[in-house]
């Protein structure tokens, strides 16, 4: 059969090795110091090496012992949810707090297969009013309601 017996272990092993290499490489510009007076790079390099080593063990285990495939990835949810969050970050300044929040709530509702236009719109309206009442009026967060793109300041 295939050399890859446990895809989950092989993938996570590779991921940890890659992260170990990435962080290890990042420590290269840092002063190492000595064991007595450890520099800023000493412990991070040790940990990066350890992470790579553990990744290697997991990888080898994945080649030796059988296991399952990872279950299906919810691409729709991954893309829409991440998109909604990133949109909020992108829109909160130029559009303002409430418009950015409303759009993010509506967009994220699309991630569900049970999405209906009416509930999503209702949900958005409720959340916007709630956020305004609690965070702006109640807690007094200093967030501009409308951003420069929408005629705010």
């Amino acid at each position: 059969m295939n050399i890859i017996r446990n895809p989950k272990d092989v993938l996570s092993g590779l991921l940890f090795i890659a992260l170990g290499l990435l962080f290890g490489w990042q420590t290269q510009d840092l002063p190492m110091g000595t064991a007595v007076r450890m520099g800023p790079g000493y412990f991070p390099l040790v940990l990066s090496g350890l992470l790579g080593l553990l990744g290697l063990i997991i990888l080898i285990n994945g080649l030796r012992f059988p296991g399952e495939m990872p279950s299906g990835i919810a691409w729709r949810a991954v893309l829409i949810i991440t998109g909604a969050v990133v949109f909020f970050g992108f829109g909160v300044r130029p559009l303002g707090f409430l418009p950015a929040l409303g759009i993010s709530v509506f967009v994220s509702a699309l991630a569900s297969r049970l999405f209906t236009f009416r509930t999503a719109l209702l949900n958005t309206a409720v959340m916007v009013v709630f956020a305004w009442a609690v965070f702006i009026k109640g807690l007094g967060l200093p967030l501009p309601l409308l951003g420069p793109w929408l005629g705010g300041y």
């Binding site: 450890m38 800023p40 729709r76």
Partner: protein
């Protein structure tokens, strides 16, 4: 009596109008998220962390603690009434609790859960008050090498008691430690792991990491298999227990309290492990083993007492040593650090109002929970009819607002999205995110103690094994690691977690 004086101080803090209010809010929110499946205490506390920054530390911690033990209460309600555990710690409660409900004894099961939880919570709080100060005194004599070894033991032990692959969990800890080191080096101010980004000069944001890993990725995972829930809640008639039922719950409640109190202290322990352990023990020693799975009241009384006791005593290592035993405690430590308090043994002596106030508030909170839960059961059940596809956009909104409001920084929002993706990928690969959070919180402390220890010993690494306390701690860590890696134990462990 020192204890009485201290408790008096604690109650004077906990019973102030403001703190009673935050205790109530915490208990109410905890019950709410305990009832709602798909929203756990870790994600909720992460979401609410930004709101606590403006509060005094005592009020913040009182509210966050209330959320944690409130969730244990709320989770049992749905487990019993509709066979849907709102929390992982009430999974076992559903087994017999729901069977009792089908037999028309829903009220008795709920009352048992509430009484058992209240009793266990009170006892565990007393234990916390009794044992935390001496433990803190002991820890005050620790030098850097002892601290380093203690943290290593804490991290290793948290892995051995958790489910899943041990090697993967350790890798997750190490990844957490590395992420925790990002930002400026404490001694030299050199930026590390900032990838030349100005925004990372203080390191990865704790709130963004926790919300991404536990909030956002959890939502994506829940959206994988959506199905319309059809809920038929059992009717609650009378909350009274019969005389025979009352007799049968006394021993399990006591045993559950002991098991939970003990397992809660252990790193990696806490509510979930306690309830599982209690259930299997009750099943083994019961006089009515055949009733288990068919509505044995012991199967509700034991685990419900145990999970509440465990939730309470897991505060002991957090408050006295500054070491988190589970992700919720890691968040509490994060909250303390953000408030400018260094967690550790000094908290007991330097911030007695904080320490004793939080302890006393647990009594107040547990009492409130009984009042909140039993009469209001109808309301909680109605909440369950809110479908998940209506709920999750609101959770996302709270996460976005929360993470943005910490520093008014959009970069933190992107960080949260990134950790949401990473968390989802790791969960897909069977890597639990909890150890990563523990590592993230402990990382900076671990490095500091290592560097100090090496400085004291003039670079001699044997300092960790020549100082007796440190050597014992490391030996325990090594023993724990060897034990879980033994093939026979590994098999038993897998079976235990499947059950």
């Amino acid at each position: 009596m020192d204890l009485l004086d201290n408790l008096a101080l604690g109650f004077s803090v906990a019973l102030s109008l403001q703190n009673v209010f935050y205790c109530f809010v915490g208990a109410l929110l905890g019950t709410l998220i305990g009832v709602l499946p798909g929203l756990g205490p870790v994600a909720t506390i992460a979401m609410l962390l930004p709101l606590t920054f403006g509060l005094p530390p005592v009020s913040a911690l009182i509210m966050l603690a209330g959320i944690y033990y409130g969730a244990q209460y709320g989770g049992s309600t749905t487990a019993i009434l509709i066979n849907l555990p709102g929390e992982s710690s009430s999974v076992v409660t559903a087994i017999d609790g729901h069977q009792m409900a089908r037999k028309g004894r829903a009220g008795a099961a709920l009352a048992t859960a509430a009484l058992g939880s209240f009793f266990a919570g009170s006892v565990a709080t007393l234990l916390l008050a009794l044992f935390a100060p001496p433990l803190a005194n002991l820890a005050l004599q620790f030098g850097p090498p002892e601290y380093f070894s203690l943290m290593v033991l804490g991290l290793i032990a948290s892995v051995t008691l958790a489910s899943g692959s041990v090697v993967k969990a350790i890798a997750m800890i190490v990844l957490g430690l590395i992420l925790g080191l990002s930002g400026q080096d404490i001694y030299t101010g050199t930026p590390r792991f900032t990838f030349d980004m100005q925004e990372l000069s203080d390191g990865f944001d704790f709130v963004a990491l926790a919300m991404g890993m536990f909030g956002i990725s959890e939502i994506i995972r829940n959206l994988e298999d959506e199905h319309q829930r059809s809920l038929v809640a059992a009717k609650v008639k009378s909350l009274m227990l019969t005389k025979e039922e009352f007799k049968r719950i006394i021993a399990p409640v006591l045993r559950g309290t002991v098991i939970g109190s003990f397992l809660g202290i252990l790193p990696g322990g806490g509510a979930m492990l306690s309830s599982f352990a209690s259930y299997s023990i009750e099943k083994k020693i019961s006089k009515y083993p055949r009733e288990f799975g068919r509505g044995a009241i012991e199967g509700v009384a034991g685990p419900e007492s145990a999970n509440n006791a465990g939730a309470q005593t897991s505060f002991i290592p957090m408050l006295t040593l500054g070491i988190p035993s589970n992700p919720v405690m890691a968040l509490m430590i994060g909250a303390l650090i953000i408030q400018g308090i260094t967690p550790g043994p000094n908290v007991v002596t330097e911030k007695p109002d904080l320490f004793w106030g939080v302890i006393a508030s647990m009594w107040v909170g547990n009492f409130m929970l009984v009042l909140l839960n039993l009469p209001l059961i109808g309301m909680w059940v109605r909440l369950l009819t809110v479908p998940y596809h209506v709920m999750f956009p609101a959770i996302i909104a709270f996460c976005c607002i929360g993470v943005y409001s910490v520093n008014n920084n959009t970069f933190d929002v992107y960080t949260m999205a990134l950790f949401g993706l990473l968390g989802y990928a790791l969960v897909k690969l069977d890597c639990e995110p909890a150890p990563l959070l523990l590592g993230f919180v402990i990382g900076p402390m671990l490095e500091e103690y290592l560097r100090r220890a090496m400085l004291i010993s003039r670079g001699d690494p044997t300092v960790f094994v020549t100082r007796p306390i440190s050597a014992v701690l490391l030996l325990l860590a090594a023993a724990a690691l060897v034990v879980v890696l033994l093939p026979s134990v590994q098999k038993g462990r897998e079976e235990a977690f499947k059950e």
